[in-house]
């Protein structure tokens, strides 16, 4: 067992971060499944992190309550900004949500008395156990899996395919998009809350533009054709910098290069069910 303990001592954090990153990638998958490029999930993660941390630190809330708070707070905010924001589409939606992310970041910076401002929150109790993260990922995957196979998942696909036609099929496009947006926010908030109680310290800089871009990259890299994609993308983007430690100064350069190469050669992402079925069909013909 000592081998495992050693492994965990060194890599435990990476594995747990892998879990929270998977949650983040899945949270943006939801909105991407509707054809929306909404990049506010980093901000929602931040809102969830701060809400949960403040609950445990200032109100001595129990962990489950803090986690719940970390999901409800961003969901509420998403519900508020969703209505005007989701009228936008394409690149405008992306930019508006990115902008919103920066607004949140600056709000955190300027509410020092509550959030500790630029110095962040220190001394968050490290309540997150490995099984919390695993449970969260498994539950979210299960819920999303079932949603995909239901009329709701079909509505997502229809909206992504052709919004106008979807509306004429009796699908309430606005509500469905809101659902994806708010649920995505809650999942991102959960990731943030779990992460906050793992890393002991959180600061406003962690939830801005760069994080938002990273979350999007995980999902697109992994592929949004299926639920495995975002998880794979999260794994790659979490593990790669670690695996490249040996390259010291240049490891992030290699990181970026690998990203570019994957994008160039696998534009639908790594997990692309359509590509797999094409391979299978080709294989079938050869054996015919």
């Amino acid at each position: 067992m000592s081998g495992f303990e050693d492994f965990w001592a060194i890599y435990g954090n990476v594995v747990l971060t892998l879990g929270t990153n998977s949650l983040l990638a899945l949270s943006i998958w939801l909105t991407l499944a509707c054809g929306m490029l909404a990049m506010a999930n980093a901000a929602f993660m931040g809102i969830g992190a701060y809400a949960a941390a403040l609950l445990t630190m200032n109100y001595e809330a129990s962990f489950p309550v803090a986690l719940a708070g970390g999901m409800v707070a961003p969901a509420l905010v998403a519900a508020l900004i969703g209505l005007p924001t989701l009228r936008l589409s394409g690149v405008y939606l992306a930019m508006a949500t990115l902008g919103f992310g920066e607004v949140v970041r600056v709000t955190i910076l300027n509410t020092e008395s509550l959030t500790g401002g630029a110095l962040g929150l220190n001394g968050i109790p490290q309540l997150t156990q490995w099984w919390h993260v695993v449970l969260a990922v498994v539950l979210v995957l299960l819920v999303l899996w079932r949603v995909r196979r239901s009329k709701v998942g079909r509505a997502f696909d229809a909206i992504r395919g052709d919004e106008t036609a979807a509306g004429l099929m009796g699908i309430d496009v606005r509500s469905t998009k809101m659902l994806a947006f708010v649920a995505g926010a809650a999942i991102a908030g959960l990731a943030g809350a779990l992460n906050a109680h793992l890393t002991f310290f959180i600061g406003p800089g962690e939830y801005g533009f760069d994080r938002g871009v990273e979350i999007l990259t995980m999902a697109i890299l992994g592929g949004i054709g299926g639920l495995a994609g975002p998880v794979i993308g999260a794994c790659i983007l979490t593990v790669l910098p670690e695996a490249l430690r040996g390259f010291s100064d240049f490891r992030l350069v290699v990181n970026g290069l690998i990203l570019v190469l994957i994008v160039l050669f696998l534009p639908q992402g790594i997990w692309d069910p359509a590509r797999f079925s094409r391979w299978l069909r080709k294989g079938g013909r050869r054996h015919a």
Partner: protein, 259 residues
Amino acid sequence: MLELTSLSKNFGGLHVLHDVGLSVPEGAIFGLIGPNGAGKTTVFNLITGLLAPTSGGIAFQGQDLLRRRPHEITRLGIARTFQNIRLFKEMTLLENVVVGAYRHMDYGYASLLLGLPRYREHEARARERAHELLGWMKLDHKANDLADNLSYGEQRRLELARALATEPRLLLLDEPVAGMNTGERAELMREILAIRERGYTILMIEHDMQFVMGLCERIAVLNFGRIIACGGPQEIRANEQVIEAYLGREDDEQAEQAQ
């Protein structure tokens, strides 16, 4: 069944429709014809809630359709196909048609999350109905192919199957035979008659005069956003204004067919 009253639509300074009125009785096959740019598709867009009229009223089975969103109008029983075909290209034929059954799948989150019988029943029923409709359109053998891989005529039939899946009372067909050959046209004519036999009402926009004259019991003619004639095929054929509308546009082929 469908009443349009003094319907007008302006886009800024552009008057697309002016004082349009027509009445589609239940069980009828009603044709809306007119030269290109007369405003026919705009009428459809107004009925289905994609656009709001500048003035006038739309009533369906006594219910006011104004200020309702498209999905509400569909749920009231109006379905539509598109001139330039709006299929869900990355889904299979079966999935496309099943989407149409959306509002009839009446199960809640508990059901779908836990896989309860209600969920399974509704899903199974939707799939069966989809196969039935695909069979009716002679597309069932391709049920699991991607919609993108169909020929033009097949895509139009798929759109029709999908529209029928919403269980409408009124079907709006926007140029259903555009791009089809004679054989396919005859086939579709039979299919539309069969659809009507099953109790649906049909309002269609079409350019193909033979098709319209052969199928529709009542025809309204739209020109420059106004209704210039409304009546049975014989009346319309003989109507001076109609002939002029088509001749005036140098639409020779149409004018010949109208006579």
